[in-house]
Symmetry: D2
Subunit: 273 residues, 4 copies
């Protein structure tokens, strides 16, 4: 490997891949520590998020995801519950003990989101939103940085470098599908990114097969494939009743489907060691 | 045409395409009014921007472009002069009378940029940065909304709808190339978007062949092609000395090349009427 | 320009771009000679092809296109009239004097097609069908080589080199759209290929806006854009009654629409000289 | 599932996915039968192919691959040993008992290749070469149909339908990467195709991680991922000395690397049952 323009993200100079601690180490991710993050696309109500949190916890999830600031393609679609949603996530954490992961869209919301969230997500539409990345470089929360829909791996690592160079050492990458000509899946989940990133960076690599495929029926196969390819964790959409979800119901597993997948993943993980 | 999810951007209900006025009508764009915007990728110094402004004005440009908040892929690259750059643009406007177009990245900068700029650009990395779009919907300045690198035309119109539905009626679209497998050009400038947009929306459509091709030698051909396809204007990078430009020099025309192109465009425009 | 792996296709060593003669020079294409090829996607009947040939001739076309071996995505779709179709094309040529251009799919058909056709087309599905290209390198007919749907310009020139290196010097390139994520058009017609090819090769460059956009309403804008970008000719689908066409009716112009476009192209061409 | 335009390839009407027998059932693939095909990109010499065959057989491969008709992007690159190569493959089969898989490019070679090969491959450049597919529909050899570089899954199944509808019931699909903007890998291996195909068709699905990634270092991760996603087999390039390979050496495993991978795959397979 030659010199890379992302000295802080580069694998060079790291004897081992990094492990990143979420919520004071209650969850670890990277370098052998596998992290299973699950939950609904959007936080909808106290009942929904608590029920979902209990179910995914029981099934073996390590953290709870749920969106409260939703980047919706249309201005007329549900934009999320905002701070009220953050409070509901905190309630779900209190009930289950699961750390919470949620997305931020606006640099002006980073401090507020950081008060509630244990890990802050940057979604695929904001992976080159540099003011947001710089703001996230200044706080003390791990950042889960998704890949942009048309972002090369090289550019992705440079976006991580924005956060790292501003002072936050805890960046987790998350592959979630790229744009291609194929329309049988919502995006093309690019698992090739896993071995490429393992060679290029010390940062942990997660995979989101829910957004990657856009179809619940394809999620288990791609979740197992991601693990077999070496991913350090998974981000999976789970909803107590996908048919009534306010967003992305078609790609959400039921709590039962998630429990079944989680069992398969444990078996697979043992075989891969 | 059936019902579209972008009622404000839709062509339906508009007898004519819209004309948008920049700087109190000193420049008009759309529905027959053609607008030629030129200038450097980045504002570098007083000398550079004033020299460039004078040259493009003399060559027939209607407005001056120049970046002061630069969305650079690497955090270690030049990030722009910021407010100092805005003041230099204002000086260039004072000297030449040309309205100024410049990019904003951060919703917290919208008010400041709006004090200086006559038209505010949203770049390809921020076309789905919804907090930024909402903020731009609240001010009284035309917005030049570039297409995202992996954005469908449908999604682009929904991003325009974010601005329109927040109250700002003056949105100008600008095609600047999409991501494909082809590497002979920096991006694939998608001129097909012009007739598609003409059928779908009443908003004016500009084209940026400089970013679209990434190569100065290809800019004149694609500029003329854009005009022949029906574009309402062009956004062209011009630098007094491209070899020394701090960014994107390889895609910038010299002042002389721009003057030659401008002459050709006038002849072409007459033939197309 | 450095050394290229396509010495025969390369622009290097050619003082001028090449002109290629079709049917003993009754039509010329390249280096200033513009060629307008029009006709139906598929030859359907004597009446259809003769009516269409007369109409496009009257409107100013230089050559007639029509498919008799059709590469259809489904085996259950109309596969073309085969040799009977070649005879109908010859009849249309006899009636109008227009040279004929038709596609070949199978190396075993090259000799037969060469007996009838004045120019032989290789379609986008066969641009890396090397046995076919080698066979076409052995005959004395110009070859119109379309770009593959996922073919880089570099690979395209190497496919041309297959024909050239086998002994046939008359290769005409034809851009017809590439595969991208955008679905508002059937393919993404890549006009950027025109200036790139003008810099890289001495071979003439045509554009097919009918397949490129897949929509008759967008064909005139893109035909004019192609001419303005420097194309040496156009390949346009025209059908006397698009609504009843056995294939690709939605992208075919009526004879009247083609005549109107042809008039606009003549005006444009004068302005571009 | 609604009606599909590929009635013979469709999953509908099949209680179980199909199993296809190669060489009178000495190897089976599909519906639980996993097939590991390995060997060099190109057959180069008796020593090379026999050594490689012995090594992959010892490591657990079920069949030997090796190209003798090579579809090379440049006409000046090695085009394969042709019939001499077929004889060398037959020798390797005699020595090891492994069935042989090799590619055909030209419909005129189908009968000859069918005399030697136990399974005939159609490469990514020929997946819409319909005369070739029709010819393969007439013989009694399984066909391994790779996906085209810009081919949707829908189109791929229609290409399979060409072979099936011509009378050959033994079609095996093989994902090998699609063209995208990402350049960190040679192509983007699309493992999402596996669960999609499992839902859509009864035909077996193989994966070629060697061409998909273009980099030997990434092959093991993607091979395991493909198996975890449900692939019915793998096609892996192995060369006794990749550094001296006449083609695609950078993506070939050494015999030792293949043996290590094969061991890992057996463990993984047990865990996935």
């Amino acid at each position: 490997m030659g010199v890379r323009p992302y000295p802080l993200a580069s694998r060079v100079g790291h004897a081992q891949p990094s492990t990143i601690a979420i919520r004071n180490g209650s969850v670890q991710v990277g370098n052998g520590a596998f992290c299973l993050i699950a939950g609904p696309c959007a936080v909808e109500s106290r009942e929904q998020i608590v029920e979902c949190a209990r179910a995914v916890k029981a099934a073996g999830a390590n953290a709870l995801r749920g969106g409260v600031y939703k980047p919706r393609t249309s201005p007329y679609d549900f934009q999320g519950l905002g701070e009220e949603g953050l409070r509901l996530l905190a309630t779900a954490r209190e009930v289950t003990g699961l750390p919470i992961v949620t997305e931020v869209l606006d640099p002006r919301d980073v401090a507020l989101v950081g008060e509630y969230a244990d890990c802050i997500q940057v979604g695929s539409r904001n992976t080159q939103n540099y003011p947001l990345l710089k703001e996230l470089g200044l706080i003390r929360r791990p950042v889960l940085l998704k890949r942009g829909m048309a972002m090369t791996i090289h550019e992705w690592l440079l976006s991580a470098e924005y956060i790292l160079s501003a002072g936050n050492t805890d960046v987790i990458l998350c592959e979630r599908g790229i744009r291609t000509f194929e329309s049988a899946t919502r995006h093309t989940l690019d698992l090739n990114a896993i071995p490429v990133l393992k060679a290029e960076t010390h940062l942990p690599v997660l995979v989101d097969p829910s957004h990657g495929t856009g179809c619940a029926a394809y999620v288990p196969a791609m979740a197992k494939a991601a693990m077999a390819a070496g991913a350090d964790g998974l981000l999976i959409e789970v909803h107590p009743d996908p048919a009534t979800a306010v967003s992305d119901g078609e790609q959400s597993l039921t709590c039962g489907q998630f429990a079944a997948l989680s069992t398969q993943l444990r078996t697979l993980r043992t075989a891969l060691r």
